[in-house]
């Protein structure tokens, strides 16, 4: 090894907590998110254990309410939303565009501290006794009736929201202003386009959640009836404001995953992405149209039929750019020299699982079917296919793909492929039965159910234990690779992209000399051969 890299630049522990290096901040986020993923996973495990039998065996109804609320809040706000943007994005975006750091390095560190503070406040609420409203915090239950720690938990989410906003702001400015010479918009890797679209949502949707949570907390603490129908307030207004944020937030939880998959598909099919411009603009189209579909969460809320029809129509529209992406990935695979390395297995799993999640989303966009499926396990299965089958799978794929760049070590390929395959089967075994349960009418958020649903619930709980083992596997072999893995070359996969032109791991300011770009991305006809065998 010649010279210092970002990991060996300063060995003191304190240097990590005062760092402004985007790569080190990404590592801080990695560590924090693993912790939250574990907490959310424990809640999910307890839920699946309770649901293995029809009766109330393990937890009371009240505890169950707190468990699924904790699972939702932790997984949505403290794992999925920051997952790819704040870890892989933080690490890779400046490298990909040939910059030395994000535009505002200190703001980047501040947003990590905000995230930790928000997470701590939320954990405090959970360990004080938890919160029983569901992650959607619907009024008037959350404001007038719930006796749990709503205000504390909401404060934690509020603080974490500003972490999201500042991250989005940092990405937007970085992508506009810090690109390497010659790196025009249409030469950007598609990961950058998708994170740009994600950032727009983070910046424009999150403040609406913030003000909504302020109103909710004001009502709870001061007893003023903002959403209280007794003084003319409207509980439905809360739902409108909440979903105005939370539906676009669904796209925060999938667009970065799509971005990762672009990189993986191109690299392991050794081909240019088919229809680059369509895929690039599809990201922004999803971000824009995603702001106009929130009412499809409220078909049975009593909103007007006209509103429901418009929201239903818009929900079909938003599927178009998503479908464009799926078709273009498939077309990229066509006649490619496909290598089934572990990251590619994750990418292929993503395409399949996202497609199932997306198509069942169209079922739910139909007014008549949605009335039937509302608050059933069909909905639960649908959004887990997107958020877990899609986003978490892409996260693992991206983590493996960039692992040599981040750590400078190669992971054991055999184990990585085994984990990828196990995750795919575990996931489907967990969540496919939930489609059946939903179609048969089992409602969500109950800790007991009719005995005829048991077989599907047993399958689902069995799948969950497979999935849990599959998610734990990488923790072991990736940790192993940190100490015993082979040293990674600069570009083990023979990939295009500026991040592969610097050493693994990169030096503190990323590049020894300013890179210059003079061609299109994904030029795999002229890419070096993979060095990894």
């Amino acid at each position: 090894m010649t010279g210092k890299n970002y990991l060996t630049d300063d060995y003191r522990l304190g240097s990590w907590f005062t760092t402004t290096d985007h790569k080190r901040i990404a590592i801080l986020y990695f560590a924090t998110l693993i912790f939250f993923f574990f907490i959310g996973g424990v809640a999910a495990t307890l839920i699946r254990i309770e649901l293995a039998t029809p009766g109330p065996d393990v937890v009371s109804a009240d505890t169950y309410n707190r468990l699924f609320t904790m699972h939702g809040i932790i997984m949505v706000w403290f794992f999925l939303i920051p997952s790819i943007p704040n870890t892989l994005g933080n690490f890779i975006v400046p490298l990909m565009i040939g910059a030395r750091d994000l535009a505002f390095p200190r703001l980047n560190l501040a947003s990590w501290y905000l995230f930790v503070l928000g997470g701590s406040v939320t954990l405090f609420a959970i360990f004080m006794g938890g919160i029983d409203t569901g992650w959607t915090l619907y009024t008037p239950f959350s404001t007038l009736y719930s006796n749990s720690y709503v205000s504390v938990a909401v404060t934690g989410i509020f603080i974490a929201g500003f972490s999201s906003i500042l991250t989005g702001l940092n990405f937007i400015v970085t992508i506009h202003k810090l690109r390497a010479p010659g790196l025009t918009w249409y030469r950007l890797p598609l990961f950058i386009w998708s994170l740009y679209a994600t950032s727009v949502i983070l910046v424009l949707a999150t403040p609406v959640l913030a003000i909504t949570l302020v109103l909710l907390t004001a009502e709870r603490l001061f007893g003023v009836g903002i959403f209280d129908p007794r003084i003319g307030g409207d509980p439905l207004l809360f739902q409108h404001l909440f979903w105005f944020y939370s539906h676009p937030a669904v796209y925060i939880m999938i667009l970065p995953g799509m971005g990762v998959v672009n990189e993986l598909i191109a690299c392991y099919a050794r081909k240019k992405i088919f229809g680059y411009k369509f895929v690039a603009w599809a990201s922004l189209a999803i971000a824009a149209a995603g702001f106009l579909v929130w009412g499809h969460h409220m078909f049975v809320s009593g909103q007007s039929l006209t509103a429901s029809l418009v929201f239903s129509f818009m929900s079909f529209i938003v599927a178009v750019p998503s479908a464009i992406k799926v078709f273009n990935w498939t077309a990229t695979l066509h006649k490619g020299k496909i290598r089934f390395d572990a990251p590619m297995l994750y990418a292929l799993a993503f395409i399949g699982l996202f497609t199932i999640g997306g198509l069942t989303g169209l079922f739910l966009a139909c007014l008549a079917f949605d009335v039937y499926a509302t608050d059933t396990y069909f909905v639960v299965a649908h959004f887990h296919y997107i958020m877990v089958g899609g986003m978490v799978t892409a996260y693992f794929g991206g983590l493996h793909y960039w692992w040599p760049k981040i750590t400078g070590r190669m992971y054991p390929e055999y184990w990585a492929r085994a984990a990828a395959i196990l995750i795919f089967f575990g996931f489907n075994l967990t969540f496919f039965p939930q489609f059946v349960l939903g179609a048969e009418g089992m409602p969500r958020r109950y800790h007991v159910y009719a005995p005829e649903f048991q077989i599907w619930n047993v399958l689902s709980s069995g799948g969950a234990s497979v999935l849990a083992i599959a998610y734990l596997l990488p923790m072991f072999y990736l940790a192993y690779s940190l100490f015993f893995g082979a040293r990674a070359p600069a570009n083990p996969w023979g990939a295009t992209g500026l991040e592969w032109q610097t050493s693994s791991p990169p030096p503190r300011l990323n590049f020894d000399r300013q890179p210059v770009v003079d061609g299109d991305p994904y030029d795999y006809a002229h890419a070096p051969e993979p060095q990894h065998v």
């Binding site: 030395r100 403040p207 004001a218 001061f222 404001l241």
Partner: protein
Amino acid sequence: MSDSQDIAEHLATSAQRDEVLELGMWTFLSTEVLLFGGLILSYFVYRHADPQAFLAAGRETRIVIGTVNTALLLTSSFCVAAALQAAEQGARRATRTLLGIAILLGLGFLGLKGVEYLGEYREHLVPGVNFARTGQDAHGIELFFIFYFIATLLHGVHVVAGIGVLAVFAAMATATTARSRYIAGLRTAALYWHFVDLVWIFLFALIYLPGRSS
């Protein structure tokens, strides 16, 4: 004077630094628009549901204080714009004086706001604390004052933050080093202060003007 010491190590030129700062502030302001936007949307939903009560509530507000405060903030914004001009032309003491006036006007705004809150407290118009109105418009008036307090408090927090930022720039106004960085920073701070001013103009129209025409 060389710029090289004023540029962070991850940026290439002072022009790039200035662009980054300015775009960062515009992006931040877009998030602020949505923050106040959610609140203003809720106001309109309720005003639409109960227009009579909102007109009655508007007549309860102190339009003289509201108008004087609008004048204070507008003048303050003018001073910040003039301070930026002065800084660009190298008039350091004028920059400091103008920023000082802008800060005093901002403090005056907050003082008058306090007087206004005190009056509303005495008239039992504070929801959740001592709201006591009866009659058919009472609920609508209460909703109006909930929004009044949340919106003006949220705006007040922005005014306090803005005064803090302006104070830092006033203190640095006569320093002789890092001038180009100072001017870029002041331009960004001025953008923020103008935005705070602009939000107030919207709030002024929504709070003080309903019910005044007849």
